[in-house]
């Protein structure tokens, strides 16, 4: 069928956000009944391009053809009418609505809800039978897990009779097993003739599931190839523009004394739900302990309680001396005074004040430091600026301007500002969460080197990351968290992604093979909050 019209064709799409050119003259063709991957680094412009296709943004220039016909997609409504459905990275669901209400929202059949709901309920049963997309129609979205929420998003699109389905980074919050199941559903949709566009930054997903793949870099489309005719190395090079080192160079660890000793640590959230259910963990001097797990299984709470801004019960020892857990005598500042540095998971919400200058951010959390004071009353802003300039130099922050606001730096440079602030204090223990999230590959290499160098100086490092590759590459020891517990510890050279994936789904008996259903059941059992995006 060589002369068949492409399901989607984009011609010369450009889009700028203020001074930032997010998409530059992008053209792409996707044939019906195929899965097309779009791969690129964070900030390469993938999501922007798809949001244009979905009518969420208006392109500055370019044309869109659907099924060979020119489409004027001015808003999401027009996109839906053209048969396009989109599953966003951050789900667009109303949390305190039921699944059914979420599905009919915007696609109601009339002014009154009752008939719409009844019709949706019938359609839902059909869709569940056709594609294996089972959901509980009357459950509140806030009570179901992320995997289920994603199904609701897919069902929303199918309910609107979408022939083209766009998925933006769909596996970020899923366990490997859940991801596999998602890809099976996508395969089934393809065999029914649906066209699927999969946006991801994970090479493995592209290689395993797509028919064709386009690579984006800095707002431009650098190549479109058949997946069967390319390799991960080639794609990586196309993404970055140069050859990349996928491995981190490091010597074997020489662990020393126990620096951090966590005993039976428990944390409850505001609703009284236990988010940490008895964690036991040790980190020694000169080793990197990696915490693997799907986002939302208690890793954030672990970092928060260690960082001093979340209450808990149990026992924490730093170099044999107790750390306060009650929240009364603990806070970020007393932790820092004890030699605990913390690079938080979310630099934009926690690690930095986006409207503050780089120099203010360098003092952030260390603003009581004696070297930053002019006298008993006033801070020494000049000294802070000088110190910031030095740090920026050493960490190659660009541009090296202490007077620039944090929001004006790229993700990688923002992360370097946080890292410089935390590492340069010579801490005994470094807590570091998602060190390379939203960071370009060049900066990733630099950040990884810094972490390893700190380990080699004999510091204890606790690393939390949802990127399994990163955990495997950096850690000297791996602990897997699931539903607020450590499911097991493994040495990186004695395990693989499959075994870790099972542990991440809460299955400790990793020697025996497991069906997806079993994993599903286990995840459902863990309660709605486990695995939820934080």
């Amino acid at each position: 069928m060589a002369n068949q019209a492409p399901a989607i064709e984009l011609k010369g799409i450009s889009k700028a956000f203020g001074p930032v050119q997010a998409n530059k003259d992008i053209s792409i063709r996707v044939m019906p009944g195929t899965i097309h991957g779009i791969i690129g680094e964070n900030g390469a412009g993938k999501s922007t391009l798809m949001s244009i296709l979905y009518g969420f943004y208006k392109a500055d220039a370019g044309e869109i053809f659907i099924g060979g016909k020119k489409a004027n997609i001015t808003d999401s409504q027009a996109a839906i009418a053209s048969g396009i459905g989109m599953v966003f990275q951050h789900f667009k669901l109303v949390e305190n609505f039921t699944v059914l209400e979420n599905i009919i929202l915007g696609a109601e059949d009339g002014g009154l809800l009752k008939p719409s709901l009844a019709k949706a309920r019938r359609t839902l049963i059909e869709l569940a039978n056709d594609y294996g997309l089972n959901v509980e129609p009357d459950a509140l979205v806030q009570d179901i897990g992320v995997g289920m929420q994603q199904r609701v998003e897919i069902l929303k699109a199918l309910y609107r009779q979408a022939d083209i389905l766009i998925l933006d980074e769909p596996t970020g919050v899923l366990t490997p097993a859940e991801a596999d199941q998602l890809f099976r559903i996508l395969g089934r949709l393809r065999s029914e003739g649906k066209t699927i566009i999969l946006i991801t930054h994970k090479l493995r997903e592209i290689m395993e599931t797509t028919d064709t793949v386009s690579v984006m870099r800095r707002g431009e489309m650098t190549a479109t190839v058949k997946t069967s005719e390319t390799s991960p190395a080639e794609l990586a090079e196309l993404m970055v523009g140069r050859k990349v080192l996928l491995r981190v160079d490091k010597k074997p660890a020489t662990p020393g004394d126990v620096v951090l000793d966590v005993k039976n640590l428990k944390v409850k959230d505001e609703k009284g739900v236990e988010r940490l259910r008895g964690i036991d963990l040790r980190v020694r001097a000169g080793e990197i302990v990696g915490i693997a797990g799907v986002a939302g299984n208690g890793q954030s709470e672990l970092l928060e309680v260690l960082g001093g801004y979340q209450d808990g019960t149990g026992e924490l020892l730093l170099n044999g001396q107790p750390l306060d857990l009650s929240g009364r005598h603990s806070d970020g500042q007393s932790r820092r005074a004890r030699g605990v540095a913390h690079v938080p998971e979310d630099r934009q919400r926690e690690g930095l004040i986006m409207n503050f200058h780089a120099w203010e951010n360098t003092a952030f959390g260390y603003h009581h430091d004696a070297s930053y004071q002019k006298n008993a009353m006033l801070m020494d802003n000049a000294a802070i600026k000088a110190d910031t300039a030095e740090k920026m130099e050493r960490f190659d922050v660009r541009p090296p301007d202490p007077n620039l606001a944090a929001k004006n730096f790229s993700g990688g440079n923002q992360q370097k500002i946080v890292l410089a602030r935390e590492i340069e204090r010579n801490p005994d223990l470094l807590l570091i969460g998602q060190p390379t999230r939203g960071v370009d590959i060049g900066a990733i290499e630099f950040i990884h080197q810094q972490i390893v160098a700190l380990r080699d100086q004999g510091k204890a490092i606790l690393l939390v990351s949802v990127e399994l590759e990163e955990i495997l590459a950096l850690s000297d020891r791996i602990a897997v968290m699931f539903d607020g517990q450590v499911m097991g510890e493994r040495m990186p050279d004695q395990t693989d992604e499959k075994e870790l994936g099972l542990l991440m789904a809460g299955i400790t008996d990793t020697a025996n093979a497991h069906s997806v259903d079993e994993i599903e059941e286990n995840l459902a059992h863990a309660g709605g909050d486990a695995g939820k995006e934080v």
Binding site: P19, G308, Q333, S334, R349, G351, M379, N408
Partner: protein, 385 residues
């Protein structure tokens, strides 16, 4: 990159907002102008109305700035607004909206009255310190309760501070009518304060330097205290650790928690400072001017603080300038009410328009400007290539 240069952000945006507010205020005066019966044709009527607007503007400028008497009133009002403006501004820095300045200033008046009535001060200077401390304390307590309720009980501080304004009014009404009113007086007010607590006016202060200043204008030494407060608050916000923490908390609560900055502590401290500043207004209006506590002594100055803080972009220097501007408007408005049929409520309208344009409609002014600067920069970049 920031789209706009700093000077545009700090000066151009507020200036344009102000022009818009002034223009619409002009329209309002135009609409309610007195038209003489002699104006019959359409053109005559429009001409007469324009004349009236022009005359009103002149009257305001002359009345407020044309004499040391006018200046004395302008600066007197400005002193009030500096205190209340700073009060709103410091709360804004912690991302708290303190609408309770009015009630806090009323309580401050109570503090001043108690200090001046019941303590035998030897000299006005010590009395000023003592009264200011009492005023600050009373205002701070009145702000601390809503702050505490917000952090510990989750009550919205905006609603609670509004309620506290009404409660303060009832409380003062009760105290003045039932307890503090001198025997035999029909006036719901305290007795006059003793001579030793009376503050020197600008006339007294400037006379030694050979500068003649109106004797009857109420501007007094409190003005200097207000200016000092502006400077002190500037130091506090931009140069101290506490200020750093307040600003951090205001920018990002999650960030502040990470950095070990206690939301409870910052909310309490910011509101206590805010309430104390609003309360200290009383050294000007109660101690400096009325020399006794009367009913409704604050005359809405607490609310004008909102407009002043918004216009001054929550910066102490901006608050200083905006306070003087509102002092001018207030005195000018009073003159207008005296000599024309336009009620004093005109100032409330102007205040509303300033809040509207510098606060709520900020983006309306900002967005076209940002687009303009972006285009300018693109052109420049294109020219350079």
């Amino acid at each position: 990159m920031d789209v706009m240069p700093k000077w545009a952000e700090v000066i151009l945006v507020p200036f344009i907002s102000l022009l818009l507010a002034a223009f619409i205020s002009g329209l309002v005066v135009f609409a309610i102008a007195d038209v003489p019966d002699t104006a019959i044709t359409m053109m005559d009527r429009i001409g007469a109305r324009l004349d009236f607007v022009w005359g009103a503007a002149k009257l305001m400028v002359n009345g407020a700035l044309g004499s040391t008497y006018g200046w004395g009133y302008t600066l007197y009002y400005a002193t009030n607004f500096m205190f209340t403006g700073l009060a709103v501004a410091i709360a804004f820095h912690a991302r708290l909206f303190n609408i309770g300045g009015e009630g806090q200033a009323m309580l401050g008046g109570l503090g001043v009255a108690i200090a001046c009535l019941y303590i035998p001060w030897p000299h006005w200077s010590v009395a000023l310190i003592g009264a200011a401390a009492m005023a600050g304390l009373f205002g701070a307590v009145w702000a601390a309760i809503p702050a505490w309720l917000q952090v510990k009980r989750g009550s919205h501080i905006v609603i609670t501070t509004i309620m506290f304004n009404f409660i303060a009014a009832s409380l003062l009404n009760y105290l003045l009518v039932n307890l503090m009113r001198p025997k035999g007086s029909m006036d719901p007010a305290t007795a006059h304060f003793r001579e030793a607590t009376n503050l020197p006016t600008l006339h007294d202060l400037l006379a030694p330097f050979g500068i003649a200043f109106s004797k009857s204008a109420p501007a007094n030494v409190s003005l200097l205290v207000a200016i000092a407060a502006c400077f002190a608050l500037w130091l506090l916000i931009w140069r101290t650790r506490l200020g750093f923490e307040i600003r951090s908390y205001g920018e990002s609560e999650s960030g502040a928690k990470y950095a070990g900055i206690s939301p409870f502590k910052i909310t309490m401290i910011a509101m206590i400072i805010s309430g104390a500043l609003a309360g200290m207004m009383a050294i000007n209006n109660v101690m400096g001017e009325a020399e006794r506590l009367v009913l409704n002594a604050t005359e809405g100055a607490g609310f004008i603080g909102i407009a002043v803080a918004l216009m001054g972009r929550s910066h102490p220097l901006g608050v200083f300038i905006a306070a003087i501007l509102f002092g001018f408007l207030y005195q000018g408005g009073a003159e207008l009410a005296l000599w024309t049929s336009i009620p004093r409520e005109l100032i409330v309208v102007i205040q509303a328009l300033v809040i509207l344009f510098t606060g709520a409609l900020d983006n309306m002014v900002r967005m076209p400007l940002e687009r303009m600067f972006l285009a300018l920069r693109r052109n420049k970049a294109a020219g350079a290539n």
